[in-house]
C-alpha cells in the first residue's frame, strides 16, 4: 500500500502537525506539495475519479467546522443517539457499488490529521447526551489505511476512557494488529462488510477475499472483540439465494453466532445523482447497466427484487442470530 503513495499534498495549516510529520517520515520518496486548503485539490471540477484511482495521492488536512454529525435516518444498529465522523475521505479499495465514487470528484485520500479535535467533540457530545454511537466508516474504510493513519491506535485509547461513547469501526480490512495488540473494548464493535464470493470477484477490486475477512473477524472475536456483520449492499443475481446462503454458512462456520454483536442488511441503493456519476465512470459494469429503478430520488433494484433478497437473507440469518441483533439499513453504503 505504501508504495502506491507517490504524492502527498499538505495543507499549510497542518504542515507542522505531529501526525503530518510522522506520516511524511513514512514516505520519504513521495513528492510533497503544499496547498492552502484541501478542497483546491480534492473538490475541483473536471477530475476523473476512475483515472485517479490508478494512482491516488494522499492529502493531509485539517477538518474544520462540525466534525461529528448526526447520522442520516435509517443508519444505526439499535442505539438511540447516532453520530458519524470522517477522519478520512475515500477508501483504498475500489468497490464498484460504492457511493463514494459517485459522491466525490477525486479519488485522492484526504486524511484529517487533527484527531484530537474529533475526540474532544465526541467527548462533548457524550457528556451532553450520555450513551451515544459513533460510526467511523461512513466516508472511508475505518481500518484499511491503519498502518499509515494510526486511526485505531489513536482512537481506541480515547474510547477506552469514554465508556458512554460507543464506536463502530466498519471495515473490509484484514490487518487487525492495532486491535489484537490491545485489550478488547466493550464499547467498540468491529463491523465487517461482506458480499458473496461472486459479487466480490466482480465488484470489489483490491478488497481482501471473503475468506480472509472471515478469518480476520474470527480472530478478533476469539480475542474478545465484538464483531458486527454488514451485508450492505445486498447484490441481486440469478443465484443470490445460493450465494448468500453459502456466504452465511462460511461466516458462521468460523464465527460464534451467539457472540455476534449486530447484523445489518441493506439493498444496493444510491441517490440518483451519485448513480449517474458512477455509471458514467463504469458503463461496462453489469451491476450498473442492469435492471435498476428510480424511486424517491434513489436508484435501486426493482422493489420486488429488493423485498425478495431482504426477506430471504433475513430468514437465512435468523437461523443463526436472534432478532435483537438484527437491523435493516436504508442509507447508501460503500
Amino acid at each position: 500500500m505504501s508504495r502506491a503513495i507517490r504524492r502527498i499534498y499538505v495543507e499549510d495549516e497542518v504542515a507542522d502537525h505531529p501526525r503530518t510529520l510522522a506520516i511524511l517520515e513514512r514516505f520519504p520518496k513521495a513528492e510533497r506539495i503544499s496547498c492552502e486548503r484541501y478542497g483546491e485539490v480534492f473538490n475541483r471540477r473536471t477530475q476523473d475519479f476512475r483515472l485517479q484511482k490508478r494512482r491516488p495521492a494522499l492529502i493531509l488536512a485539517r477538518k474544520h467546522g462540525t466534525r461529528v454529525l448526526p447520522t442520516p435516518p435509517g443508519y444505526g444498529i439499535g442505539g438511540e443517539r447516532n453520530f458519524y465522523f470522517s477522519h478520512m475521505l475515500n477508501c483504498v479499495y475500489d468497490c464498484r457499488y460504492c457511493f463514494l465514487q459517485g459522491m466525490f470528484r477525486s479519488a485522492h485520500y484526504v486524511l484529517f490529521v487533527n484527531f484530537e479535535d474529533f475526540e474532544s467533540e465526541i467527548a462533548s457530545i457524550t457528556a451532553r447526551d450520555g450513551d451515544s454511537w459513533f460510526f467511523s466508516g461512513y466516508d472511508c474504510d475505518s481500518l484499511a489505511f491503519e498502518p499509515i493513519t494510526g486511526f485505531a491506535e489513536s482512537f481506541l485509547p480515547f474510547f477506552a476512557g469514554h465508556p458512554a461513547a460507543h464506536l463502530e469501526l466498519r471495515t473490509k480490512a484484514v490487518h487487525t494488529e492495532a486491535l489484537l495488540d490491545r485489550e478488547p473494548l466493550s464499547n467498540c464493535v468491529v463491523a465487517y462488510s461482506f458480499t458473496p464470493e461472486a459479487a466480490h470477484a466482480e465488484l470489489e477490486r483490491g478488497v481482501p477475499t471473503v475468506s480472509r475477512r472471515i478469518r480476520a473477524a474470527a480472530e478478533l472475536q476469539a480475542a474478545g472483540w465484538k464483531i458486527g456483520l454488514r451485508f450492505d449492499p445486498l447484490i441481486y443475481g440469478d443465484s443470490f439465494r445460493e450465494d448468500y446462503r453459502g456466504l452465511f454458512e462460511s461466516i458462521f462456520e468460523s464465527l460464534d453466532p451467539a457472540l455476534v454483536h449486530s447484523v445489518s442488511l441493506g439493498a444496493f441503493r444510491l441517490p440518483k445523482s451519485y448513480f449517474e456519476r458512477l455509471y458514467r465512470l463504469h458503463p461496462e459494469q453489469r451491476l450498473l447497466a442492469g435492471r435498476l429503478e428510480e424511486r424517491d430520488g434513489m436508484v435501486s433494484f426493482p422493489a420486488e427484487w429488493e423485498a425478495e433478497m431482504t426477506d430471504f437473507c433475513t430468514a437465512e440469518l435468523r437461523r443463526w442470530v436472534g432478532e435483537e441483533v438484527f437491523h435493516l439499513c436504508t442509507v447508501p453504503a460503500g
Partner: protein, 261 residues
C-alpha cells in the same frame, strides 16, 4: 489525439520533427498536425497560451484528447536541461493554483511551476519560473479532464546562468535533449485519451437506428443509454436493425430495446 502547446517556435521544432508533424493552414497561430499529435505555437505569455488552447481545440481533429504544454523556464539552482513535470501551477501574483494529477509514473522529476509576467531572475522559491502554464492549464481544463493535461518545463536558466545565454539554437537543444521525456509523456497521455475515448464511444448500432427513426433529443439520449446497457449485459447478442424492423415509431424502438433488459 495529443495536443501540444509551446510558446516558441524553437521549442516546437524538435517536437515537430520527432512526431513528423506537418504545417497546417495559415491561421492566427502556427499549427502542425500528425496522425496522433497536433501542436500549436502560442507565443509568449499566459493569455497567448490560453488563446492557443482554444484555437487548437476548435481546429483540432479527433474526439477525446489529452494536452501537453512544453516549454523552458528558470530555476534557482537546477542544472540546465533538467526536466520538471508540474505538480502545482501557481498563477502570477499567487492568486490561484492548480494541481495537475499524475495517474502514471512520471518520466522525470516533478515540482511546482510559477507563472510570471516577465523574465524572472530572483528565483525566490523552489519552483520553475515561466510564463504560460497558468494560462494553458485552466484553458485546457475546459476541454479535457485534469488527468489528461500535463505541463513539462525544461530548465533553461538559473542564478548562475541567466537568460542572456539563450537563443533559438540553445532552446532547441534543451528541448531536443528531453525528447525521451516528451515521448514518455505522449505515450502515457495517449493511453489516457484512448481510455477516455473507449469509455465514451457511441454504442454499436446507434447511428443506424438514429437514422432510420426520428428520435427527440430526450429519446436519443435514452436510445444511447439503452444500447450501451445492452452492449454490457448481452455482449454476445448485438442489437440488429432486423429485430427492430417492425417498430412503427421511435417510441416502439425504445420499448422493444427495453424489453431486452
Amino acid at each position: 489525439m495529443i495536443r501540444i502547446v509551446t510558446a516558441l517556435a524553437a521549442e516546437a521544432r524538435p517536437i515537430v520533427s520527432r512526431f513528423r508533424l506537418q504545417p497546417d493552414g495559415d491561421g492566427p497561430f502556427r499549427l502542425y498536425r500528425g496522425d496522433q499529435v497536433e501542436l500549436v505555437v502560442s507565443g509568449i505569455g499566459s493569455s497567448a497560451a490560453a488563446a492557443a488552447v482554444g484555437y487548437l481545440a476548435g481546429a483540432g481533429a479527433g474526439r477525446a484528447s489529452a494536452w501537453l504544454n512544453v516549454g523552458i523556464g528558470g530555476h534557482r539552482d537546477a542544472t540546465l536541461g533538467t526536466p520538471r513535470l508540474a505538480n502545482k501551477i501557481v498563477a502570477a501574483g499567487g492568486a490561484r493554483a492548480w494541481y495537475p494529477p499524475a495517474v502514471f509514473e512520471p518520466p522525470c522529476g516533478e515540482g511546482a511551476v510559477q507563472t510570471v509576467d516577465g523574465v524572472e531572475s530572483g528565483f525566490a522559491g523552489e519552483a520553475v519560473y515561466e510564463m504560460e502554464a497558468a494560462g494553458f492549464y485552466p484553458a485546457a481544463l475546459r476541454f479535457a479532464t485534469a488527468e489528461a493535461i500535463q505541463v513539462l518545463k525544461v530548465v533553461s536558466d538559473n542564478r548562475a546562468t541567466g537568460t542572456e545565454h539563450l537563443n533559438g539554437a540553445k532552446v532547441e537543444e534543451l528541448i531536443e535533449r528531453n525528447l525521451p521525456v516528451i515521448d514518455g509523456l505522449v505515450t502515457e497521455l495517449r493511453e489516457i485519451a484512448e481510455f477516455l475515448d473507449r469509455r465514451s464511444a457511441p454504442p454499436p448500432a446507434l447511428a443506424e437506428i438514429d437514422q432510420r427513426w426520428r428520435f427527440t433529443v430526450t429519446q436519443r439520449r435514452q436510445l444511447e443509454r439503452l444500447l450501451r446497457r445492452l452492449a454490457t449485459l448481452d455482449p454476445d447478442r448485438p442489437v440488429e436493425l432486423d429485430e427492430l424492423a417492425g417498430a412503427a415509431s421511435s417510441r416502439a424502438v425504445l420499448e422493444r430495446l427495453r424489453s431486452r433488459l
